[in-house]
Symmetry: C2
Subunit: 249 residues, 2 copies
């Protein structure tokens, strides 16, 4: 009797044809029965959007490979509820082209796919390559395969996903369990005039500056470590309860 | 000498012309210099999306009232970085038509506007009316004015926003400081055939079922209380550190 391999659902926000997801899916086939269900085009910074007001199209691109006309969250939702033959044992989102560190995860389509997996009770992790230029996903892919093997065997803490960021350095020093850092924001808006004389705005980028000390994702990534941040979906600030319970409105 | 009133920035995800935001803005004028900067159309469930890949248009609809061709997050970002004459003292997002409770806040455009305000260091709260049918925003608006007055005087705990949900009952019992509950998910996908014979998918709704005990937002709202949940942006699951630090990958 042949044991069924566990199903691994792979998605991302760079789109189904991006180099990062293809490299990841290929290598994960060593540890599971891989299905790729990803946005048909890049959906970066769509955050945890769910498409409620229009229909979604699913295109089968190949064996166990699907493009969805929606967000990463839509992909996970449709895959688990409609496409897969049975529930996946693991959701892996990535490898993202670019970091997902600190508060930026609230904008991240890559992390949101892992959030949706977690909401649907499937152990999930997101993996990102910390580089604006490199397309060498090999270290990130290798580490993802090891992590997938670990999670398939041992599971994850309840309601917890992992946000993994891999530096693009040649020598990786190892990995660290980190906490989410906090970016110091300096969002710039670019204001311009279009060819028809009308004003438009474009949201600019951020400087890579952060606060939060020596146990954060930012800190260890900048020092050549792979950062693993365990995230949960409970955003309640329990520390503020005492202060807030005193208020009179 | 006339003291300048503090600037209050009002946004939402139901769109700039929705009844909830207009009622809110009108009443907040009693406590501040109100600017409305909101999406030109409904943007529900866009979560914390930031529009990076295309230009945004801002249309001035009237005195201190602007429509943006983007998400609630875009609105707050553009308002603070470009539109307002100086930094606002408060961001208020709402009144949303429908609840934003439990894990659903990870999808919520209404809450994401308050998240963006918080990321940009402005005290912020989101306010939602817990009803699928009622358009009577009066209780929610009245409470928002009181809360705005309190926050303008006393501030909020650092990096913390408030997620306020107001039941649509006639008799409100009061308000409670609550924690974020957890929805029991049952997302259904509807699979159909379009007029041209092609398959499409539509993401369905959820049942209002939840877990998490007697101190949650769900619990108190269902019992006729206004729920105030303090949220922060640090999603790190600190409780899992001990377990995860033992792992060997």
């Amino acid at each position: 009797m042949v044991m069924d391999k566990p199903i691994i659902l792979v998605s991302n926000d760079d789109g189904v044809n991006s180099k990062g997801i293809l490299a990841l899916a290929r290598s994960l086939r060593r540890v599971g029965d891989v299905y790729v269900v990803a946005p048909e085009r890049e959906r970066s910074a769509v955050s945890h959007s769910l498409t409620l007001h229009k229909p979604l199209r699913v295109e089968k691109l190949g064996r166990k490979m699907y493009a969805v006309s929606g967000t990463p969250t839509d992909c996970i939702n449709i895959a688990i509820n409609s496409i897969l033959p049975k529930r996946p044992a693991l959701v892996v989102s990535g490898v993202n082209k670019g970091a997902n560190l600190g508060d930026d995860i609230t904008y991240s389509g890559t992390v949101s796919a892992a959030i949706e997996g977690t909401l649907l009770y499937v152990p999930s992790f997101a993996v990102s390559l910390v580089s604006k230029v490199s397309l060498d996903f090999s270290t990130a892919v290798k580490f993802s395969v090891k992590l997938a093997r670990y999670i398939l065997k041992n599971g994850l803490p309840k309601d917890t996903l992992l946000n993994v960021n891999v530096p693009s350095k040649e020598k990786i020093k190892g990995y660290k369990i980190t906490r989410q850092g906090k970016r110091v924001y300096g969002d710039a808006i670019v204001e311009k005039i279009d060819p028809r004389g009308k004003k438009y705005y474009w949201i600019g980028g951020n400087e890579l500056s952060w606060e939060g000390g020596k146990d954060t994702d930012f800190y260890f990534v900048s020092r050549g470590y792979i950062s693993i941040t365990p995230l949960h979906l409970d955003m309640t600030n329990y520390d503020s309860f005492e202060e807030l319970r005193k208020i009179k409105i």
